[in-house]
């Protein structure tokens, strides 16, 4: 049994690792080396990286970062107090809970048509504002859902004690309850940022031009002329590496976020 399990895990480890390594190798190959997929020994070059850096991908990285930070920032201001009200006072009742879960699972295909028209009519097409608004449609429900779970885990007595000690409701919330959930809040923020960073669908439709985010720019490398394959590999890595780093930071609490808030496993 143990041996079988070890083999299985090892095989899966290879399956997971392999695409990363392949793309990393491709990003270091010259167009000539790229023609033979089986070449594993070659003289590495940084040309692809230089060209992608010169192509203005920095602007897209910046756009993605701005969108992610703004989305998560608004998420903190709006979703955290909302989640607290839902957790502590059951505010808004069942309808609110159901509504938030529904918006979390609503397919983007449903919202993209009206959001596109709204952006069009308000003159916000191809702006980051439109992308931020669209990303809030999924980041807000997810952050709320997570935070409800984390607030549920804070003992009521802590807060009651704070009220006895003369803090007001808001004072107790900010000084006593919030510090208790800070690690969870951090995880919810990073996770929200990753969701925003990864979105192609909304960003492509709402801002495919000069305001394009990184996934839209990466999709633009979708070409199979051998010459640009190396650059595509670089662009893939540029979008992947930050989320890989984030994933290591956030995973442990993600389990708790999903299991306490979302799932109750």
């Amino acid at each position: 049994m143990k041996r079988l399990a070890a083999v299985f895990v090892s095989v899966w480890l290879l399956v997971v690792a392999f695409p990363y390594l392949w793309v990393l190798l491709a990003s270091l190959k010259t167009p000539h080396d790229l023609i033979d997929p089986r070449s594993f020994v070659f003289a590495p070059t940084l040309d692809n990286w230089r060209e992608v850096a010169a192509s203005g991908i920095g602007n897209s990285v910046l756009s993605s970062a701005i969108v992610g930070l703004a989305t998560v920032g608004i998420g903190v201001v709006v979703a955290v107090p909302g989640a607290y009200a839902i957790s502590r006072w059951h505010a808004g009742g069942e309808a609110t809970r159901f509504g938030i879960l529904l918006s979390e699972v609503l397919p983007p295909a449903v919202l993209v048509v009206p959001l596109f028209l709204l952006a069009y009519n308000l003159g916000l097409r191809d702006t980051l504002v439109a992308v931020i608004a669209s990303h809030l449609t999924f980041v807000l429900p997810v952050m709320t859902w997570f935070m409800v779970g984390f607030f549920d885990a804070v003992p009521k007595e802590l807060e009651e004690q704070a009220l006895v000690d003369g803090y007001g409701r808001i004072g107790a919330f900010i000084r006593i309850v919030l510090p208790q959930v800070l690690p969870g809040l951090g995880a919810a923020m990073i996770f929200g940022f990753v969701l925003s960073w990864n979105d192609l669908f909304y960003a492509l439709i709402l801002a495919g031009g000069k305001a394009r985010t990184l996934p839209v720019a990466v999709a633009g490398y979708n070409t199979f002329r051998g010459v640009e394959l190396g650059q595509m590999a670089v662009a893939i890595l540029v979008s992947v590496v930050p989320v890989l780093v984030a994933s290591f930071v956030v995973q442990k609490r993600l389990i708790r976020g999903i299991s306490r808030g979302g799932l109750k496993v």
């Binding site: 049994m1 143990k2 399990a5 070890a6 299985f8 895990v9 899966w12 480890l13 399956v15 997971v16 695409p19 793309v23 023609i35 997929p37 089986r38 608004i74 709006v78 107090p81 989640a83 607290y84 009200a85 505010a91 808004g92 069942e94 609110t96 159901f98 699972v105 609503l106 397919p107 983007p108 295909a109 449903v110 919202l111 993209v112 048509v113 009206p114 959001l115 028209l117 709204l118 669209s134 990864n198 192609l200 669908f201 492509l204 439709i205 990466v218 490398y221 979708n222 394959l229 992947v240 989320v243 890989l244 290591f248 995973q251 993600l254 389990i255 999903i258 299991s259 109750k264 496993v265």
Partner: protein, 285 residues
Amino acid sequence: MFRFGIRHVFLAPLLVVLGGIVAYPLLYSLWLSVTNFNILKQGQTRFVGLDQYLGLPANETYVAALVNTLVFVGLAVAVELLLGLALALALQQVLPRRGRNVLRSFLLTPMFVTPIAVGLMFRFLLNQQLGLIPALLAQAGVRIDFFGSQLALFSIVGIDVWQWTPFMLLLMLAGLESLPTQPFEAARVDGAGTWFTFANVTLPLMRPVIAVAVLIRGLDAFKVFEYVFAITRGGPGTATETLQYEVYRTGFTFFRLGEAAAMAFVLVAIVLVLIVPLYRRVGER
């Protein structure tokens, strides 16, 4: 009687924002779906009742997209669940304390990776001329066109399995870790074998976790778009048309936004059917 209290001060901003960016667009879209709205012919917009919906069954591409999406979701979620559960059990068996967290973290990484990057990565890997896997297979005398009309949808399923099995693994690990220990001790005392214990103790205890994981992943899988956009654009023929891609094409390359809204609302109906059992499970507090 309703009194506006502190709880409403906390909740109001969230509801106002969600109302503005989710509820209002949803109603707006419902309205669009009963018109013939086309952004290029805005002057001719009129109410057409249910015509957009009634026209869908005759739209072959749309029907293909619906069927493909259902096949995709069913297959992908089933494979991901089986693999995720098997991996979680295997990980529990083999992992030494030391390497555990690093290995687990690494195995979970694909679910965080930008889906368009995943799509391009696999398009590259599986490409006939330039990809490694067809090259290795060719060496062994096997010729497979991963994105030909026979296999394309299954290749897309495979890519989804690479990216999302980690999600199942994550939930299954969390589920396994939260199981009570007594039933397992009882089974051991009774001399139950590994398989017997798995089938009669582990699985029944894991049922709620599995149900929720399948629902969440299933709802998410309906959104498949990036792989199709990156690799096949719905082809060959209609082999990989999916609902979300079809909405994108109808709405934003043909600009028939009324029709696209109607297509999307069929998705809402599917989501609503799935979400009610999910809510029952999650909402029980």
